[in-house]
Symmetry: C2
Subunit: 188 residues, 2 copies
């Protein structure tokens, strides 16, 4: 058996090279090659991918804007939700198509209401940081059943009730997640 | 150099085994192991994954239902859009939160309107078959800028204007795409 081990190793390596799973690099022996890395790269790349590398521009509305203004920018920008900011530009809430629909149905006065009355606010707004992994963002979206997340960094503005305030720097969406899935296949 | 090739091969293989990239199988030598296949499996699995394996239950509304009914099932079922069917149960259209928002804003009479007046209809409805790959579905969603797709099969109902009609068997969403992304990482 020992006498057979060398050719066995050899031919298995030859097979690996043939399958593109190992690259032949004569001077240093065999190292994991392009197909191995292309394969596990998909996963590794995914694990290493940061929110900042794929985030979209935030679409922002002031909390004093009207529900009508919000609906208009939602359609103009073709997004599913808007990020609401206060007078200092800090994160104040998120308003989704769902929130808007809830408030507008059978309520003709809704269009002049301020956004702040219809939005999901403050502590209930799930957000991510630019340095978070895309996978963590995906997990948050699934767990909290939201279609998008504001990407935020701590703000220099004064804390309110001892709570850090956040500057909005981007937006993560399930559309971005779907695009990443496509890119994974295209990369192969 | 030739004299060194054997230990080099050996230690590289040992390294591969250690990294989990190659499994040691004494009797047949070394074969690509779990990590290699888990790695390229992610991509391969993704390419081979069919809509039927991951689709969600369709959430359906009749075209004669009112806009108010549609909004209610949208909230009850917690979905982004509803699939609209005709009297034979065949695909007639899709109505999204966006369509509903467009029709309800500042229009107090909207809630009693039939869904058929607010939906995206017929030939404009992008759909997929259960046998299509998930990647094709993702591509359609990105290309047509929609958040979900009805999954359909040809219906036995009579064609209308020479056009095949479709039975609705499922629903694909960007939420499912986001979940697949998470599963790819969990599988590794």
């Amino acid at each position: 058996m020992l006498g057979l081990s060398r050719p066995t190793l050899r031919s298995d390596l030859a097979l690996l090279v043939m399958l593109g799973l190992v690259d032949a690099k004569p001077k240093v022996g065999y190292t994991p090659g392009s197909a191995v890395s292309a394969g596990s790269q998909a996963g590794r790349k995914l694990l290493g991918l940061k929110v900042s590398e794929v985030q979209a521009m935030p679409v922002i509305v002031r909390e004093t804007a009207s529900v009508n203004d919000a609906v208009v920018s939602l359609f103009l920008e073709n997004v599913g939700s808007l990020i609401v900011v206060d007078e200092d530009g800090c994160l104040s809430g998120v308003i989704s198509r769902k929130d808007l629909l809830k408030v507008t149905l059978g309520n003709p006065g809704a269009s002049t209401m301020p956004v702040s009355m219809a939005m999901t606010r403050g502590a209930n707004v799930v957000h991510v940081s630019p340095d978070d992994s895309v996978i963590d963002a995906a997990r948050k979206m699934i767990h909290h059943q939201v279609d998008s997340l504001p990407v935020v960094v701590p703000s220099k503005a004064d804390p309110v009730n001892g709570r850090t305030r956040w500057d909005v720097v981007g937006r993560m969406t399930k559309t971005i997640m779907t695009q990443i899935l496509l890119d994974l296949v295209a990369d192969r």
